[in-house]
Amino acid sequence: MLSSFANPARFMGFSSWAAPALALLAVALFAIGLPWALFVSPADYQQGETVRIMYVHVPAASFSMGIYAFMGAASFIGLVWRHVLADIAARSAAPIGATYAALCLLTGSLWGAPTWGTWWEWDGRLTSMLVLFLIYLGYIGLWSSIEDEERAAKLAAILCLVGLINLPIIKFSVDWWSTLHQPASIFRAEGPAIHASMLAPLAVMAGAYAALFGALLLFNMRAAIHRRRIEAARLRAGAT
């Protein structure tokens, strides 16, 4: 499976139908999930209607972390086995992950206003997500500031892996920091028991986010491969 992905021509063939298919799936899941989550599902007995933000917030949070892990794996494959497609996959995933992280921060802030009475609470989870967002920005910034694509890919891969090693440490220190400053009296939205009537729409929303990521990733990768081919053609034309 991996080796078939490693072949750009085969990837282009596969993605030409997979990308639109995933896009359709994402539209369908959002069409089901959003009304369900925002209108049909029950309001929380403590948080009331604001709990609906959770359906947008939680998948964004977990997928932005998951996408970074995906980039780490792709970076590793790109560095060790020198697969061009892995480099392209890591690069193409970054803006999506950054957008998910931004969405998570935005919805977290919106949720904070009625719940905590402030537009920004330095909550441990939100702070970790902010750090992740900044790591995404640094990664994208490095990519875009190095002209030689191949070198940019390898350097960004090193940075991505260093970030991956650091993330648990950052997470641990931010948790340590937040317990130091706020004893556990603060109410947590994501308590241990989420009622089944909330779990189902959440699962649909998670599926929608996953399908959207897959579709955007494949579209981005296709665009990157086209860009590389154009660049290569231009270089060949310039060389003769």
């Binding site: 910034g141 070198r151 650091n166 220190s173």
Partner: protein, 216 residues
Amino acid sequence: MSAFAVTFRRDFALMWSGGGALAPLGYFLGATMLVPLAMGPDRALLAAAGPPLVWIAAALAVLATLERLFQADLEDGALDQMMLSPAPLEVLVFAKGAALWCAVGAPLALAGAPAAIALQAPLALVPAVVASLALGMAAFIGMGLVGAAVTASVKRGGVLIALIVLPFFAPPIIFGAAVAQGEAVTSALLILAGCALGACALGPIAAAAALRLQAE
């Protein structure tokens, strides 16, 4: 002398020649001075919130020294020669980081004493602040090596280095600030030492890998 020793000696000498290492010190004290200017001179307020801000000033001051760390070696061809040494590139990168710590990091940690006092930290806490800064500088520099190496070929990459490296500064800042506030001092110092060790091990390996790519 060994390859490590000559690399350390040259970098240390070059950082001090022309008073180059004084600039980060001045930067640090200048940034510290801005704190009471922004917060007001009220001693109680400063004592409550001021001392951890020494860490912000120190992080920014060391950040400013990173841009040219490898860029100069890449531009003048010294990096090529480093790769032909019997010593692994990782060791030479470590030597450069150690030179930066001695030339800039340690003086900054010492300057942390007057800065913390000026920001109304209790005197009894000052030795712990200096020790924590010395450890924190090692952690900053270890991570900074990576940022400096991946951006070595980027012209005017100072802002980019800051963007790349600042998230990695979060753990040392958190534990360093805890020391400066006098909270959980011993455990925070221990964790800081762990951060420093980890960064000094990981940093040179990742930075050397990046530098080999830069030389291609």
